[in-house]
């Protein structure tokens, strides 16, 4: 099932249960999978048209009136386009708004460089009090949606729209502020967020065969990062690799480096190396940005060699 379908299904449940849960979009409801909810929730879904800044501040106004607004757009327009509105109307004003950015990083595929946000986490991560969450599979997204809705503050949700392989079991217990250990190991810590998690698990399996045992943690909440889990794992393995579908500046890699600044542990990165995106299908984009299982294996070995 596509992530957007799960997202829409969860939102429908939340709106059904509480008429104060409202959804605003900016002419991308078809892309985010929520268009089919419109008939059912006429008084809870509002299309703001191609005016994302207005959408963000309207959501803040609704929040001040006791509503629980969700807003959605593609990642670049849900982050850099509305950065000041997220900072002031939403975060500074302590409004309860959930901001959903779809098609993160290279997953924007054929929309290309203009729509390929390599910097959304970086742009938003320095805004105080804003929580940044990136689900890794449908199981986690399903578990997270009610938690996000209940969380009394602003959250940015970085949502891959299409299908992702399940990483978590059906009985998965979600904690917004705790990282999940997917695999335990002794030689290297791999911290991963979002769509590359399954690739990391496959890479870890291959590395295991070559005698490198990996601790794999899914960092679903990049801000505030689970420092305790990051430091505990890195302290155990003494070598770290971060893997993300985002510029290595400002995203997960930066967040991990900040957490480990005093730990004297080498940290290598697989991520977008400070470059813009371009058009292409995922296999091509993975190759040109180095977001491949092969590159994860190669860089993991380099990280271990630095010990």
């Amino acid at each position: 099932m596509e992530m957007r379908a799960i997202y829409a299904e969860c939102l429908a449940k939340l709106m059904e249960a509480d008429k104060h849960v409202v959804l605003l979009d900016a002419d991308l409801a078809k892309a985010s999978g929520t268009i089919k909810l419109r008939e059912r929730f006429k008084d809870q879904i509002f299309d703001c048209g191609v005016a994302e800044q207005n959408m963000a501040s309207i959501a803040a106004g609704l929040s001040s009136y006791g509503f629980r607004p969700w807003i959605e757009s593609f990642t670049p327009f849900a982050s850099r386009r509305i950065c000041d509105q997220v900072a002031i109307s939403i975060a500074y004003a302590k409004q309860n708004v959930k901001i959903v950015g779809t098609d993160p990083g290279i997953s924007a595929e054929l929309n290309g460089g203009t729509h390929m946000s390599m910097e959304d986490i970086g742009v938003l991560r320095s805004i105080p009090e804003l929580v940044i969450f990136e689900p890794v599979d449908g199981v986690q997204l399903r578990a997270a949606m009610p938690v996000l809705n209940e969380y009394p503050g602003a959250v940015y949700v970085r949502l891959f729209r299409k299908e992702l392989p399940d990483v978590f079991p059906e009985d998965y217990k979600f904690d917004l502020f705790k990282a999940d250990t997917l695999k335990e190991g002794a030689d290297l810590s791999i911290f991963v967020s979002g769509m590359l998690t399954k690739d990391v698990l496959d890479a870890a399996e291959a590395l295991e065969k070559e005698g490198i045992s990996c601790d794999v943690l899914n960092i679903h909440t990049i801000k505030p990062i689970d420092r305790e889990a990051v430091i505990a794992s890195a302290g155990k393995t003494r070598a770290v690799l971060t893997v993300e579908n985002h510029n290595i500046i400002g995203g997960l890699h930066s967040a991990v480096l900040e957490a480990l600044a005093e730990e004297k542990i080498p940290v290598k990165a697989v991520g977008v190396m400070d470059r813009f995106g371009e058009v292409g299908k995922l296999p091509y984009l993975r190759e040109v940005t180095g977001l491949t299982k092969e590159n994860i294996i190669k860089t993991a070995k380099e990280a271990v060699a630095l010990k």
Binding site: K19, V22, D43, F46, C48, G49, A51, Q53, N54, A56, S57, I58, A59, A60, G61, L62, S63, S64, Y65, G66, F67, D84, Q85, A87, I88, S89, Y92, A93, K94
Partner: protein, 275 residues
């Protein structure tokens, strides 16, 4: 007519001068230009209760030109939301009265504003919220003329008309001055009335937005628009720095300027007609 309101407006104007004079600097021009509007809204028109500042279904005022915070605070203090003595804490470290309006710090403030353009969209969101709750509240909001250069103002204008938010009454403080020069020199917004009409709003033009009688009549007129299916814009032709001659004469320089305690005291005498 409205003699009492005129006296209240004097009190508010004097309190704005006292608190900015105490601090030594502030957005005096754009505070003094909106005193009559604040007086009419808070002392005549709005369904509010200072004893229950968060009461559900109350009318709201959202000061999108957030730098007029001191004028709103002086109004709230005169209306009984908090002690007038607190006005002297304006912009001091740890104050509840920051230069720009903050709903999390100040009793009676309904929205955090100051990044221009955003408060207006927030007001539109509040008006939508009130419609959804069907609570009969009227949502008032004030924008600056310089602020009207923000694209977000027009995004919000479009949305409010499109969603038929006739419970929204907006005001433009059309004092025609901004920081770097006159509004027309910097980036002209005229003809403002035609722009708002073209965006689907009722428009009321007030010749003297610093005349209590005219402002009071205009707000009553604007309320007739509730039920019309259109939001209403009241364009207040005001004077930046209104009420104190030397501040008025500063022109564009009165946006954010030094005011000494002595100057404030002299200005208060001028406002009271005792100079």
């Amino acid at each position: 007519m409205n003699e009492n309101l005129r006296e209240i407006a004097k009190d508010i104007r004097c309190d704005v001068l006292t608190c900015i004079g105490h601090l030594g600097v502030g957005h005096i021009g754009g505070c003094l230009s909106v005193v009559e509007l604040l007086t009419v809204l808070y002392f005549e028109e709005m369904n509010i209760d200072p004893k229950e500042p968060k009461k559900a279904g109350r009318d709201r005022f959202i000061c999108s030109k957030g730098h007029a915070g001191p004028a709103v605070y002086a109004t709230l203090a005169n209306r009984g939301y908090f002690d007038k003595k607190e006005l002297l804490t304006l912009n001091q470290g740890g104050t509840n009265l920051p230069s720009h309006c903050d709903m999390n710090r100040t009793i009676g403030i309904d929205m955090t504003t100051g990044s221009l353009g955003q408060g207006f969209s927030c007001a539109v969101g509040v008006a939508l919220g009130s419609k959804l709750e069907n609570d009969g509240a009227t949502i008032y909001t004030l924008i600056g003329d310089g602020e009207s250069q923000e694209g977000q103002i027009w995004e919000a204008a479009m949305f409010a008309a499109s969603k038929k938010l006739d419970n929204l009454i907006a005001f433009t403080d059309y004092n025609k001055l901004q920081i770097d020069g006159t509004v027309e020199e910097v980036n002209g917004i005229a003809p403002l009335d035609e722009k708002w009409r073209a965006f689907g709003w009722n428009v009321i033009d007030v010749e003297d937005g610093n005349d209590i009688d005219e402002v009071s009549a205009a707000v009553k007129h604007a309320k007739l628009g509730i039920g019309s299916g259109k939001p209403t814009m009241v364009i207040l032709n005001t004077k930046k720095g209104c009420g104190v001659k030397w501040i008025e004469d500063l022109g564009t320089a009165n946006h954010n300027t030094n005011v000494t305690e002595e100057q404030a005291k002299a200005a208060i005498l001028e406002i009271r007609g005792e100079a």
